[in-house]
């Protein structure tokens, strides 16, 4: 059991290997084996993740730090103590992410075998998918910021490759695809800039980029625990959950018992690059720390990673000296958090950097499901939850970071939800829905509900992957239907070809009635929709409700502004969610088919349906991993807050309002709102005879026309960015290149000022110096100018060889001269 974390490098290596094999020999292996390899790599990683899960649960929440073999060091400069290793971390948070990534990832790999069938770049597709998994798993298993950044940019690269996967489609669509890919990469880079800045600040503030040092105890809460114990005059475990309601400074230490001043645990093992377990660890470092801690109730900061140090040093009034400038420690943390937030807005598609995600739908649908819904885009949320210590300290130190994050998150949730109301493209609706749901998670982080954020991340990964795969199945079906239709109508309709060109298999106006054509897709899609809309008892109900309950608690109980904001805005966003999803269900599956393609659309094949069914089942049950306390009926069956207790082992600051009882009022409000939205949407769209020409129901009514058109135009974000950023950027580039660099520096400055000035000085000097007044250096210049002029003339008249020979003779002479003393010494020593 203790050695299980040693397997964690395999989680990254297997997909990496799969990628390499598929990349180099995939074409020779053929579609079948290439798909097998891709799926196997992913499933294998999933199995390892499960083993790691048993490790974490089996050891009651231990955290392990693993140095992979062969490449244990990375960036190390000894003289200045810079040490950034390749180092992996296994704790409940990273295992959660691993399971999501490999679990959902495996299903999507299986699905892609069906979806990509027949594509000529099939092996390369699986190579990219596997490569993505490898980078994503690097991101979530990293034990330091720099390694996280490797994964962070690596997934960005894979996203670039996969969004642009069909760049060679017929122009202009192919060009649009590659544009979308480029846009995604560049916008993400803006976020990466923030993360880079955060890392520089972190390094100079903490002297390390490690999250936690090997052997550092997770979930110790040293400072507060010590204070709490002192206050209570005892050194005992407290009952979990019992003390939740009355304040913010108490910590759970009952679970995991990771704070235990006892001799090292069982089963010592000394593997040189082995596991350094969080507690019960045999290595001397860990016991040293424990000794120091148990003696002094205080960590030596040299033994602490970034987050441990944050706890120790925050609020002490310390100043950080960067060399060129000084800054208060607390302010530095605030700055770090702000820069990190910029990174999050890029990767997790928040205002203002979300604009790449809708375009990213240009990629194949499995990519949209895996990368742009379930996993990669949640990396930002994961990072903030990882850095929860910093955010928590800032919130408690009077900084407004929580409020800022809440504003960004809930603003995004509302804005994207609104835009989704007016979209026609089935994937685009889901894209904006993803942005909106990511906004929910970010807002949850903002109000300090880290567990809720992670919970929603997990459930969302499942049901949004389901929805995307479902939409892929729909698109696949409609496209096949279109082929059927074409074959049947060949030669009968002259307009057909022209019509066919404009046919968009993703436009919901071309769908309708698919409920009967694609029953399994329909049912699974319905389940996903209900989950997303937050309808009981599907996954989304539990997670969304938890965010709302936390926001409510934060606002109405603790009187935090961020809580009020989050609660109010997210409630509206949740209503939007239910509305646009039901609109989608009606447009796609209900009524009569509105195109020949939809009329003939076949149900997808088994390879695609199986993942849908599995995901649908998970959508039904995954919410039960974190049932609130005192939930009627459910609490009797399931342990409450299981997921929360699991995560507690890696979240140092367990959020405040987290052990809330099930709040029937809030659950009722959210549920009623969701159902009401569905009913309204149903009445608005069902049986209204929509065609591509007569517009949306909302557009037909004067009262909602403007609102719909705004949503349909996506609030003009793209236009605004184009006008305000892209065009000025391009204009300035042209100006700098043509006017400043070429006309001024290159032509005018060089030719007119330097060259002509040089010539005239040379001429001026040339005349008087004929008289024989010679200064060494200046003469050299004049002489050289003359010589060069000669050379130039020589070049033009073809005497190059002559001059070459002259120079050669000169060079050889120089060499001989240089070697002369050396040869002399050699001769002398010889004789």
């Amino acid at each position: 059991m203790e050695n299980l974390p040693l397997l964690v490098p395999l989680v990254i290596l297997t997909p990496a290997l799969g990628a390499i094999v598929n990349f180099f020999v995939g074409a020779k292996l053929g579609e079948k084996w290439s798909g097998y390899i891709g799926c196997f790599a992913s499933i294998f990683a999933f199995i390892i993740s499960l083993l790691l899960l048993t490790y974490v649960t089996g050891t009651d929440g231990a955290a392990a730090v693993v140095n992979p073999p062969l490449v244990d060091g990375w960036l190390r400069i000894e003289s200045i103590g810079l040490e950034i290793p390749w180092q992996l971390r296994v704790d409940s948070l990273s295992v959660t992410m691993m399971l999501v990534v490999t679990g959902v990832g495996s299903l999507i790999h299986l699905y892609a075998r069906g979806y990509m069938h027949g594509d000529k770049l099939y092996p390369r597709f699986f190579a990219y998918l596997n490569m993505f998994l490898a980078f994503m798993l690097t991101l979530v298993t990293a034990n330091n910021f720099l390694m996280l950044f490797v994964g962070w940019e690596g997934v960005g690269l894979c996203s670039f490759l996969l969004i642009g996967f069909w760049w060679d489609k017929k122009m202009p669509e192919g060009w649009k695809n590659s544009n979308a890919a480029r846009k995604a990469f560049i916008v993400n880079r803006i976020g990466d800039f923030g993360l880079l800045m955060a890392m520089f600040l972190i390094f100079w503030t903490f002297g390390t980029l490690d999250f936690y040092k090997a052997g550092e105890l997770p979930n110790t809460e040293a400072k507060y625990l010590a204070g709490w114990r002192e206050h209570n005059g005892l050194a005992d475990h407290s009952d979990d959950d019992a003390k939740s309601a009355d304040g913010d400074k108490q910590k759970d230490d009952g679970h995991g018992g990771s704070y235990v001043c006892e001799p090292a645990g069982p089963a010592a093992h000394d593997d040189s690059h082995g596991v350094e377990s969080g507690y019960g660890a045999p290595n001397p470092l860990a016991s040293d720390i424990r000794a120091i801690y148990c003696d002094n109730h205080h960590f030596d900061t040299d033994y602490l990673g970034v987050f441990g140090q944050t706890q120790e040093r925050f609020g002490t009034g310390e100043t950080v000296d960067f060399g060129g400038f000084q800054m208060a420690f607390d302010d530095v943390i605030f700055l770090i958090a702000l820069f990190m937030l910029l990174g999050v807005t890029g990767k997790s598609a928040q205002i203002p950097l979300f604009i790449w995600l809708p375009d990213a739908m240009a990629g194949p649908t499995p990519v949209s499901a895996l990368i742009h819904a379930a996993t990669m885009v949640t990396a930002g949320v994961y990072m903030m939850v990882r850095a929860n210590v910093m955010l928590w300290e800032l919130n408690h130190g009077g900084y407004v970071i929580g409020l800022i994050i809440t504003l960004v998150g809930s603003g995004t949730a509302l804005m994207a939800g609104y835009i989704a109301l007016g979209q026609w493209d089935i994937k685009r609706v889901l894209a904006y829905s993803t942005i909106s749901q990511l906004g929910f998670m970010v807002a949850a982080v903002g109000i300090g509900a880290y567990v809720a954020a992670m919970f929603h991340l997990v459930t969302h990964a499942v049901f949004k992957a389901l929805l995307f795969l479902g939409s892929g199945s729909v698109i696949h079906g409609v496209e096949h239907g279109r082929h059927h239709a074409r074959e049947h109508s060949q030669g009968q309709d002259d307009d057909d070809d022209h019509h066919d060109q404009e046919f968009d298999a993703q436009d919901m106006r071309n769908m309708g009635g698919l409920r009967r054509r694609m029953p399994i897709t329909y049912i699974t899609y319905l389940i996903g929709t209900l989950a997303l809309a937050g309808i009981f008892p599907f996954a989304g109900f539990w997670s969304k409700d938890e965010i709302l309950a936390d926001a409510w608690y934060e606002g109405f109980q603790l009187n935090e502004l961020s809580g009020f904001i989050a609660f109010g805005i997210l409630l509206v966003a949740a209503a939007f969610t239910a509305f646009y999803m039901w609109r989608q269900i009606v447009l796609v599956f209900f009524d009569e088919a509105r195109s020949e393609a939809a009329r003939q659309a076949p149900e997808s094949n088994g390879a695609m349906l199986l993942p849908l069914v599995v995901l649908a089942i998970f959508t039904c049950v995954i919410g039960l991993i974190n049932v609130p306390k005192a939930t009627p009926i459910f609490s009797n069956i399931y342990e409450s807050y299981e997921f929360k207790h699991f995560l507690e082992h890696s979240l140092l600051s367990v959020s405040r309002g987290h052990s809330l009882d099930f709040n029937l009022l809030i659950a009722g409000i959210a549920l009623a709102l969701g159902i009401a939205s569905i009913v309204v949407a149903h009445n608005v769209y069902k049986g209204k005879g929509l065609t591509p020409d007569n517009g949306d129901q909302l557009e037909r009514h004067a009262s909602s026309r403007v609102a719909f058109r705004l949503a349909n135009a996506r609030l003009y974000w793209d236009e605004i960015y184009s006008k305000a950023v892209e065009q000025p950027f391009n204009r300035l580039a042209t100006f700098l290149a043509d006017r400043i660099d070429w006309d001024f520096l290159h032509n005018y400055f060089h030719d007119s000022i330097i060259k002509r000035g040089f010539d005239s000085i040379a001429k001026l000097l040339g005349q008087p110096f004929d008289l024989g007044i010679i200064d060494g250096a200046v003469n050299g210049v004049a002489w050289l100018v003359q010589r060069l002029a000669n050379w130039m003339r020589g070049m033009q008249t073809g005497y190059v060889r002559l001059y070459a020979v002259v120079i050669f003779i000169g060079v050889v002479a120089v060499i001989l001269l240089m070697l002369l003393p050396f040869i002399q010494t050699m001769l002398q020593s010889g004789s």
């Binding site: 060679d168 544009n179 990469f185 880079r189 060399g323 700098l736 250096a777 060079v811």
Partner: protein, 533 residues
């Protein structure tokens, strides 16, 4: 210690000369096929010799290793007698750059195998002779520690490059060659004056101490009187007037201008696009790969060690120019429609990072800068190879004429993507390691501030902007100009052979840079120690 014996450094230095002599005695017409092999073989032997030096190198020792010093001449200047000596040797910085030079050279030679330029212009023998001469002089620049000899090598590098551009270059080669020569030469004159002053003042041209003779650096560092070594009487208005009034400042600038033009530091870069665009492929590869590094190397080797106080005083100014170069170079690069020009301007941006790292004046910055010299050599050298191979096939440098090449040449597209990513600093590849260390160093620098790092880091975004523009326009999109000869879509063996070492280094430095940092650590730290409190 007796340093007069033959050292490995000398052997490495003169291997290209041996190749050159062999080439001289070969017949350019009848032995045409053998010529390139002699050149290639020589460059490989030089590389092996450099690797041997690396094997012999002890990274835990500060100061020069494998040194050799023979008195060459004694010059009477005024009353004093000054020694000029053949003084070679390597520390970590020199060794790394010698390795880079000998690494790039065989690649550049391989890249010119079978080039159409020889069909057009002929003189293949002369071409390889110049390559050998170039390699010799470049290695010389990196290993010599006598100012006069350094100056000789420094100037000699101009000659072969001048001819490489002038004879085998593109349409406007004459203009570019002359401009390149004059521009860099003009800067060097100031350096020569400064060198003469230094020699006169200190009585030696040797920078390092050796065999009992105290070198300039030691004199400067062990000076204990008032003021500095160069300005013994403390300047009354040192705080306000230092920049312009002190001797040290003038000497510093004398060296710096020569180096700044070579780097090139903004705004001294206007020779660069001409030289790069007009030069033949191998010329561009060497120019970007090695020649530009001579400038940054010179700053580290001479400016920082001999004039530390002036370096401190000028650090914010020059680092500012570096930062301007990062953004400006990237921006101008983005606006180019000519692929080769785009890559050329990207050098201005990348070397801006190096300059920023150097003038952070701390260990991180300097180590990052030195490693980034190598990284830039590898990735930009690789980019120029790519451009050269494209040109060999399509005979155009205009981006608009390409498109869709990834589809036609999948392997070439993938390699180009990796090299582009390395150039834009994707973590896990080499470029990132250098940039990250530099930027980190700049934030912790005593002499710079937060704004330097903030703006320079924006350059990371810009790099993606211009490189992706190039990649998208050249490799994605519609394939507009199909080749008439289908077989040309395949990469030649020599092209693949040129790429493989580049790819290996990209991943090696990206994943395990420890080896290289170890090589640099002590050497760089001894320089950085000058600026530590």
């Amino acid at each position: 210690m007796d340093l007069t014996g033959l050292s490995l450094t000398t052997i490495t230095l003169f291997i290209p000369m041996i190749g050159l002599v062999i080439l001289l005695f070969m017949n350019g017409e009848t032995q045409r096929d053998n010529i390139k092999w002699v050149a290639f073989g020589t460059s490989i032997v030089a590389f092996v010799a450099a690797v041997l030096m690396w094997v012999n190198f002890d990274p835990s020792v500060a100061g020069l290793q494998m040194a050799q010093r023979n008195t060459w001449a004694e010059v009477s200047l005024g009353e004093s007698v000054i020694n000029i000596s053949y003084f070679v040797g390597v520390d970590g910085i020199s060794l790394l750059l010698v390795l880079l030079t000998t690494f790039i050279m065989p690649i550049a030679i391989l890249g010119s195998f079978g080039s159409q330029i020889f069909e057009e212009r002929g003189r293949e023998k002369l071409y390889y002779i110049f390559m050998m001469l170039l390699e010799w002089s470049m290695i010389g620049v990196f290993v010599v520690h006598d100012l006069i000899i350094f100056y000789v090598f420094w100037e000699v590098t101009l000659v072969p490059m001048y001819f490489l551009i002038g004879i085998w270059g593109a349409e406007e080669r004459i203009y570019a060659a002359v401009k390149f020569f004059l521009y860099t030469m003009a800067g060097s004159i100031l350096m020569l004056i400064a060198i003469l002053y230094v020699g006169n003042k200190s009585g030696t041209f040797s920078t390092y101490s050796a065999a009992g003779d105290v070198g300039v650096i030691e004199m400067v560092q062990s000076y204990e009187g008032e003021g500095s070594y160069w300005d013994p009487a403390p300047d009354e208005e040192e705080d306000t007037g230092f920049l312009l009034s002190s001797v040290e400042s003038f000497l510093f600038l004398g060296f710096l201008v020569a180096f700044a033009i070579k780097v090139p530091i903004f705004p001294f870069h206007s020779w660069l696009p001409d030289a790069h665009v007009q030069a033949p492929t191998a010329g561009s590869v060497i120019l970007a790969g090695v020649l530009l590094k001579m400038g940054t190397y010179g700053i580290v080797r001479f400016n920082l060690t001999m004039f530390p106080e002036a370096a401190v005083a000028w650090a914010p100014t020059i680092a500012f120019l570096g930062v301007v170069g990062i953004i400006y170079g990237a921006w101008v690069s983005y606006a180019q429609d000519n692929v080769k020009k785009l890559v050329a301007y990207s050098s201005v941006s990348h070397l801006g990072f190096v300059v920023l790292g150097i003038f952070a004046l701390n260990s991180q910055g300097l180590q990052g800068a030195t490693l980034q010299m190598v990284n830039h050599g590898i990735s930009t050298g690789g980019l120029f190879l790519i451009v050269g191979m494209l040109y060999e096939r399509w005979h155009t440098k205009e981006m608009a004429d390409y498109g869709g090449i990834w589809k036609m040449m999948p392997a070439f597209g993938a390699i180009s993507l990796v090299i582009s990513l390395s150039s834009m600093g994707l973590p896990g590849l080499n470029g990132f390691i250098g940039e990250f260390t530099i930027l980190m160093g700049s934030l912790g620098s005593k002499y710079l501030g937060f704004a330097f790092t903030l703006i320079a880091t924006l350059g990371v975004i810009m790099a993606a902007v211009y490189l992706l523009k190039m990649f998208q326009h050249v490799f994605m999109g519609e394939h507009r100009n199909p080749l008439s000869d289908e077989t040309r879509y395949k990469l030649q063996w020599n092209e693949i052979a040129a790429f493989i070492p580049i790819l290996i280094m990209i991943f090696w430095i990206g994943i395990q840079p420890i080896v290289f940092f170890n090589m640099l650590d002590i050497s760089v730290d001894s320089i950085a120690a000058l600026f530590a409190p």
